[in-house]
């Protein structure tokens, strides 16, 4: 044991060094999988795509072909050798420029004198270069290594397909014409040390040439060899960039946009459009934000009319995508370029979209699959068009709506012939959808040019979104405005009229977002929307709320030029869990197209109630290839959250349909995607479940989707039963707070109920703490692979720590095995010693709990197994809770049966320093295992609030208003804060909040709760009574003076 620990200590140091340089890629192409390689283009499939989106009609109406339109494809590069990507219909070159912003093909060179004998001596050996000229008498040479390529690349670091990843290719650069002007490149593609038999290449934009690594094996249908171009030669010849598509994604996108393969090959949407190929992603489809930004700038500067960006960020909006969004907005405005951006393949979670967008200029595209495509590709009879299940769903975390529209997500297009013998493959994803829209934009620009219609990016986008055809059964967050209708957009574009420039910022108090609102984890009561009119003319928007639960305070909104207007929306939500997606439109009749469409989506989650044994049951029916989403609010301190999915059986014992579930945590990350359950499962499984250990509190999402193949089973829809349950020991109330408000109240207690939802156990509830709020718990999700253990430096565990607990779990992939070790630095021995370990074979949930651990430096160490070479992720949780005599809890060691609920009382003595604290209730089994760890907030000495409710004007059943006033109790100054009234959140401004209400009966109850940073906890309930009509409130009557005096004596003693 000691020896093993010692070796691990050594690797700890190594990991630290490596981890600090292993930066994660910020960009990636959509993870589209190759569905099918094809011998020829799927002409019928492409025709379906083009018919569904009005592109056929647009072509017929305008005869547009994309002529004179330059389309930039920012992607993984494009295979220049593909026969369908050589020319336009008129024989002009298809690819006009090929540049590379990655370093994947970068070759640095050294100088050497031109050998008189044609034999160049280099450290890489001797190379023959008979007949190759150099004006200066000097040549430069270097080497392209297979290993310099992205190790995860699709082409697999084997450009000559000889099965080895260690080949190198000699590169020679010469200045044939003018001394010092290096412009000719020879690559020893066949490795024969002779450059004379190689095609000399110049920079692609000048020469249009290409070559190929390796030698084709005529016995196979594929072409063994990666084609490449010279993307760049440094003017002094000091480096060369070889450009290639080592992935195939860029070639596929380019083909869909603009392929011209004649009668045999593929005809893309705009066969006369020309391509500007900009490689910003490596062979694995990954790249960095800087490269993408440089690519976007290059496209603008090179005169692109349309830019296709079929890539998305997998790192959220931190830095990259957001900066890209700004860049897109800037460049689109300055150069009048249309940007078409794939929405991303991160769906179906609500708010999963991360694509870079500019709300005014860029066109973001999601993916859908039509009925006809389902039938064409698989023979499935799907009742209606459906969204492609992974199409990213808006809004982005910052509130911008993604997608704007959707287009067919399944496309057969060109791929390199080293990948597919025929040179074609069918891919699915939003990248494909975006490429079709890009092609349509190229057609529209061509048509507009021919007849002299203005088609600047803003008008173009307005025309596209105003005419899109909505799919039934999907919200605007999922499909944007609907399916592209290129012909209708073209017709709309020809209408005259100005497009206003307006931007919306939405505010609920809890969130402040440009554009749309998605409220998750709370129910808004009111939102305020600030509308900036950047147009040079005034706007008068007619405001319409399209849902009965939304109310707008204004019927019109008048905004002077370059001014800001505002309107308020109040929410009277149905009392039922669900996703409520509302839209508010603002149209100025004097302008053209849709002026403002605002989405406000409210998630009203299911809650776990003790009365229902902390379980939620949902019975649903979902049509083939469609999904339903459900949300669950998880309180803090729960140790187990489980979802089980079952397909009920029909009368003959046959399960009705096939479904699976996506599970997303409160941050929107997909935690699990289950197998399908239900009909046609070989093992007859009708039920499956997934358990999350130490789940993050917040709102969890489960998306249940139905298999598209139901028609094969003679069904149109699947039935399902989704059950969500909590495990472990649950403490109630879940969001309690102990607030020391009076200076003399030194001790407070709180009665709670513990419920054992797990197996029977013997144990008790212990109190630990106080810790400063937020200081005790730490959670993160980390990546891990088998070669590289994960290490978390816990740093100092202070004196007087009552509980040190660390836990790892929730692995992805689920079969990953994790082992957890805890080391403490022993200053006496001068080395790390294992303090505890949890290494259950085959288990990925490991927990270490140490009561009263010795103070010192600790390190948590995690090893992963059964990853099969992949990279996995897991949750890491850590609690360090001090001990203090200030918290106690009344509970005794007892046997607790499953389902048993018992009372415990938490007692807290006020600490000296004012502030916010957490007391912890640890449910401890007799053997020391922790079954629960629940925080309870404790507040000391925070400014208290004074609340008043005024609402004398209420009549039963009639809409009316009540007004709440908020003051600092000590100064009576108005207090601005966030409050929750009857479960809905409002922002209080200037201490005043007027809320529309309709009460039933003679009285109404208002529960006012506030957990504002600036004030102490507030939880008060007010009762409001309906006033007496025609009250007896006569003039003062002196006759009553005796009675007044008497009652004063009775009541106040004087």
């Amino acid at each position: 044991m000691r020896r093993i620990a010692a070796t691990r200590q050594l690797s700890v140091v190594l990991v630290l060094v490596v981890a600090s340089v292993a930066l994660l890629p910020a960009w990636t192409v959509g993870a589209e999988e190759v569905l099918r390689r094809a011998q020829g283009p799927d002409t019928r499939g492409m025709l379906l795509n083009l018919q569904e989106t009005g592109i056929v009609a647009l072509r017929e109406a305008t005869a547009a072909t994309g002529r004179d339109v330059l389309v930039a494809v920012i992607d993984t590069g494009v295979d220049p050798t593909h026969p369908d990507l050589r020319t336009t219909t008129q024989g002009r070159p298809k690819i006009v420029d090929w540049v590379d912003f990655t370093d994947e093909g970068l070759v640095y060179t050294l100088e050497a004198p031109l050998p008189a004998d044609g034999r160049l001596q280099t450290p890489y050996g001797e190379y023959r270069m008979q007949g190759i000229a150099s004006a200066s008498g000097k040549v430069r040479y270097g080497v392209f290594w297979e290993q310099q390529m992205d190790s995860a690349g699709y082409v697999g670091q084997d450009v000559d397909f000889n099965g080895l990843k260690v080949d190198r290719f000699f590169v020679l650069v010469t200045d044939p014409q003018q001394p010092g002007v290096y412009e000719r490149v020879y690559v020893d593609t066949n490795g024969n040390h002779d450059l004379a038999d190689e095609t000399p290449l110049g920079p692609f934009r000048e020469s249009g040439g290409w070559a190929r690594f390796g030698r084709d094996d005529p016995r196979t249908p594929e072409v063994e060899g990666l084609p490449f171009v010279v993307a760049e030669v440094a003017p002094d010849g000091s480096f060369v960039r070889l450009g290639f598509d080592g992935n195939g994604h860029g070639t596929h996108v380019a083909g869909a946009i603009a392929a011209w393969g004649g009668s045999e090959g593929l005809v893309g949407v705009a066969p006369d459009a020309q391509l500007l190929v900009i490689k910003a992603l490596t062979s694995s489809g990954r790249g960095s934000w800087d490269d993408v930004a440089a690519a976007i700038r290059y496209a603008a500067q090179a005169g692109a009319d349309v830019v296709n960006i079929s890539i998305s960020s997998d790192e959220g909006l931190l830095g990259g995508a957001d900066a890209a969004s700004q860049l897109i907005g800037e460049l689109a405005a300055r150069h009048q370029i249309a940007f078409v951006v794939a929405a991303g393949n991160s769906g179906p979670g609500l708010g999963s979209a991360m694509a870079p967008v500019d709300p005014r200029y860029s066109i973001t595209v999601g993916a859908y699959i039509s009925r006809e495509r389902w039938a064409h590709d698989y023979g499935y009879l799907v009742p209606e068009d459906t969204l492609w299940y992974q199409s990213a769903v808006g809004p982005r975390p910052d509130g911008l709506q993604v997608p704007d529209l959707v287009a067919p997500g399944r496309v057969t297009s060109c791929v390199p012939r080293w990948d597919s013998a025929g040179g074609y493959a069918t891919l699915e994803g939003t990248s494909m959808a975006a490429s079709l829209v890009t092609g349509a934009v190229a057609l529209i620009l061509d048509a507009a040019e021919r007849v002299g219609v203005r088609a600047d990016p803003v008008r173009l986008k307005t025309a596209l979104v105003s005419t899109a055809r909505a799919l039934s059964g999907y919200s605007v967050l999922e499909q944007g405005h609907g399916v592209l209708d290129a012909a209708a957009a073209w017709r709309a574009l020809q209408e005259p009229g100005v497009v206003p420039d307006l931007r919306v910022v939405s505010l609920t108090g809890m969130s402040y977002t440009p554009g749309s609102l998605l409220t998750k984890g709370y129910l808004p009561g009111e939102s305020i929307h600030y509308v900036d009119n950047f147009s040079p003319f005034p706007l008068r928007l007619e405001l319409v709320a399209h849902q009965p639960w939304l109310r707008v305070d204004k019927s019109t909104l008048t905004i002077p030029p370059v001014q800001q207007g505002a309107f308020r929306v109040s929410y009277q939500l149905p009392d039922r869990p669900g996703v409520y997606v509302g839209t508010i439109s603002g149209e100025d009749p004097s302008t053209w197209g849709k002026d403002m469409e605002l989405v406000t989506a409210v998630i009203s989650p299911h809650v776990f109630q003790s009365a229902r044994k902390f379980a939620v049951d949902i019975h649903g029916e979902v049509a083939a290839a469609r999904y339903h989403r459900h949300f669950f609010h998880l309180p803090a301190g729960v140790t187990e959250l489980s979802f089980s999915l079952r397909v009920p059986e029909d009368g003959r014992g046959r399960p009705v349909g096939r479904v699976r579930m996506h599970l997303l945590d409160p941050s929107g990350s997909q935690v699990a995607l289950s197998d399908y359950v239900g009909e046609e499962r070989a093992d007859g499984t009708f039920r499956l479940s997934h358990t999350v250990r130490y789940p993050v509190p917040g709102v969890w999402e489960v998306v249940v989707s139905s298999h598209p193949d139901l028609s094969d089973l003679d069904r149109m829809a699947s039935l399902y039963h989704l059950r969500a349950t909590l495990g472990g020991v649950v403490m109630e109330p879940a969001d309690a707070c102990l607030a020391f408000t009076e200076p003399d109240a030194a001790v407070l207690s709180l009665d709670m109920t513990a419920t054992n939802l797990g197996a029977p156990f013997t144990g008790r509830v212990r109190a630990v703490g106080l810790s400063r709020e937020g200081a005790a718990e730490r959670r993160a999700r980390y990546r891990i692979d088998e070669r590289q253990a994960f290490m978390q430096n816990i740093r100092e565990v202070p004196e007087g720590t009552a509980l040190l607990r660390i836990s790892v779990g929730n692995p992805d992939p689920p079969e990953m095995d994790l082992d957890l070790y805890l080391y403490r630095y022993d200053p006496d021995l001068g080395r790390w010693e294992e303090a505890a370990s949890s290494a259950v074979a085959g288990s990925s949930t490991e927990t270490i709990t140490l009561w009263n651990p010795p103070a010192g430096q600790y390190i948590a160490y995690v090893e992963a197994y059964r990853l099969e070479g992949a990279v996995g992720t897991f949750d890491y949780c850590q609690w360090i809770i001090p001990s203090s005599p200030l918290v106690t809890v009344s509970d005794t060691m007892e046997q607790r049966e499953q389902g048993e609920a018992w009372p415990v009382t938490l007692t807290v003595t006020a600490p000296d320093a004012a502030g916010r604290y957490e007391a912890w209730l640890a449910v401890e089994r007799v053997d020391g295992l922790l079954l629960g760890l629940v925080p309870v907030e404790v507040q000391v000495g925070l400014p208290q609030l004074l609340v008043q409710l005024h609402g004398p004007g209420l009549m039963p059943g009639v809409p009316g208003h009540v007004t709440f006033r908020f003051f600092r109790r000590d100064t009576l100054e108005p207090a601005d804060l966030l409050v929750e009234i009857n479960g809905q959140v409002y922002q209080v401004r200037d201490g005043i909040l007027t809320v529309p209400v309709t009460i039933q009966g003679e009285s109404a109850e208002f529960r006012v709760r506030a957990r504002d940073e600036a004030f102490g906890f507030l939880d008060q309930t007010f009762h409001l009574l309906v006033p007496v009509r025609d009250p007896v409130l006569g003039e003062p009557d002196p006759e009553l003076d005796d009675l007044r005096r008497k009652v004063r004596w009775q009541r106040w003693g004087r």
């Binding site: 204004k554 003051f967 009576l972 004063r1048 009775q1050």
Partner: protein
Amino acid sequence: MHKPTAQGAHRFWLLVAVLVALLVTTGRPVRAALDDVTGHWAEESVHWLVAKGVVVGFPDRLYRPDWSVTRAEFAKMLICALGYEEEAEVARRAPSRFRDVPSDHWARGYVEVAADLGWVEGYGDDLFKPNGLILRSEMAVMIGKALGLQPAEGLPVPFADSAAIPAWATGYVAALAQRGLLRGYEDGTFRPLRHTTRAEAAVLILRLLREVGRDADLFGELTWVDPDHSRIRLALATDQVEIAIAGRGIFRAGRRADLSALKVGDQVAVVLGPGGRAVFVSASFADAVAWDVTVDRLSQTISFAEGAETRQIPILPDADLYLNGRSVGWDALPDAAGRAYMVFDVRTGWIRILDLAVFDVVGVIRHVRLEERHLVVEVAEGLETIIAAPEVLVFLNGEPAELDSLQAGDTAKVGLNEQGLADYVEAERKR
């Protein structure tokens, strides 16, 4: 006593000079603000709205309560009352949707936002007539729309001249009258085509604010008054608070009052100003007495005859209940009582203090025999001797008293306990 020094005299003359200068520059003696509403029936409403910053007087500090209000002025009052001034400031810069509201019209922003909010509509052909005097019926429609009311079509309009109300206003007038926001003139008319005065507008805007709960910052029962230090204490619905009073904006029962006139037990609405000090205080106390009442403990109401009708009034769930001078719970209330003294919550009209008296003997005291604790009372049937219980409660002219302070000639109303002993005596002595 010493002579003023030269410096002192200099200072004196300087002061005089300043005062003279003030008089000269203003041209007339400085008036107290809004003194033209003093004694006016709308005095309290005007001061209330001024304290809230909703209306201001003219630059000469007069309010001119009986002048008429223009449509633009009323739109501005509504916008300011409901907190949309800032938006009006922005909207001022947009061209108006009304042809007759030019870009330099002082009220353009107010009219525009009021139109955005749907509170005002123009006349058919894009006209607003901003400088036209607003009719009472037009005012009713604007108030109704600002409150978000639906016009109550089909509801009877409780005014004698309801036939004169234009059709476009009838529904709103009815809805507002139903809520007590429009009360009409004393002769039962509404006079829909009369111009609205500034006093009427102030009263209505205050009622509108009360209707949505925005009239006062604090509202509660007065529990302590300190006129010397200008401080009061209020019991709020869920809290207690002590407030310093700044200024003289103090009203009781609708009339200007000194702080010393406020009584513990009054209900007080407070408008707070800078520093959390009260800049306006309105105290009210509403009470009434009824005879031969019946008590419904289940619905928590009491009923009594009012003319030919029976009146039923709800009692607040947390009301103070007394029976024969003693605080009691709901269970101890009798089914009927000879007298009910009621103190109302002025906001809802519900009873907040209920003092019931059940008298078994009523008459004039003839003898008081203290040793035996006997009262000899002359009733219709003759003399009756009543024995006082040890715990007897005695009130004389509303003040607590002892048995020995009663004397012959006092009128006495006596309640007996279960043993037939007097446990409650209310005596009245001619003053």
